[in-house]
Symmetry: C2
Subunit: 144 residues, 2 copies
DNA sequence: TTCTCAAAGGATAATTATTATCCTTTAAAA
DNA sequence: TTTTAAAGGATAATAATTATCCTTTGAGAA
């Protein structure tokens, strides 16, 4: 993602463009596996050694409020962040902290259709997210 | 849920039956809206004023490990707990901390069928949970 | 370009939920 | 009844996050 694109996203939301925000946004995009605030801090420290941890948290909050990123729910007590805000789901590995994005428009359509038919009383559905929990299988059986 | 039933659940898992565990299990069952450890502490304090907070956390962890209860993922930094371990989903209210259970076997079948057909490469699905996010609508318009 | 100032950042302290420690108590099997 | 590993209580420690408060800066106005 280019500097201009990020600048665009920020100004679009009426947010000041600062080097800190640029660096943090870039970091979330670049870091895979839905980084924590600490992952992000560590990553940006390489090129911006003087961005404080507090700032990282503040910026992440501002971004989440403005739907530039989203928070990812986990069973652990660390928050994780996702640069992708388009409708998608998450694959949780049940024996590691790996979290992958899962895109599936066919599934989205299926769910939309389903909940259009099957209403939940007194409730207006805004969004549906799947947590797909399971295990990654290494095909290492042929190796020793 | 009766004392005998709870005792049964504990012994079934090879867990010692203690007054603390009984009280905590009862509390989770009784408290709606997926209580936090603090909600539970507060609740049991009425009848068991000397159960310490540490014990509540320890017991909740033991219960979760033994699948007597489950942890509920939220975007906040407090863990919440659910006495229901059967396959079900959660409805998250987007403007309060309300979390409701959602049971729907038709939906479960639909998802099972779908993921039987549509494999995720190198991944074995163990469980699928929906987070249904939206708003409860009060029908108070006729009232003033 | 310079000025202005609300918004943003830095450093640090404070908070909050949770976990660890360590000694005491107790459930439950012998 | 005895035994003992497991469980609980009190308290301290940890770790993630939030608040504070002063300084700096982005960006619009002059």
């Amino acid at each position: 993602m280019s500097t201009e694109e990020i600048t665009g996203k920020l100004t679009e939301k009426g947010l000041k463009v600062t080097p800190q925000r640029m660096a943090i946004y870039e970091a979330i995009v670049k870091l895979k596996n839905h980084p924590t605030a600490e992952n992000i801090s560590e990553y940006i420290r390489k090129n911006h050694p003087n961005i404080s941890v507090g700032t990282v948290y503040k910026v992440l909050d501002v971004f989440a409020e403005n739907r530039l990123i989203q928070k990812v729910k986990t069973e652990k007590d660390v928050m994780r962040y996702d640069a992708i805000v388009e409708n998608h789901h998450h694959i949780y590995c049940s024996d590691s902290d790996r979290i992958e994005d899962y895109f599936d428009n066919e599934l989205n359509d299926l769910l939309e259709t389903y909940f259009k038919k099957k209403k939940i009383p007194d409730f207006k559905v805004e969004d549906i997210k799947l947590q797909i929990i399971g295990k990654y299988i290494q095909n290492n059986e042929t190796l020793t």
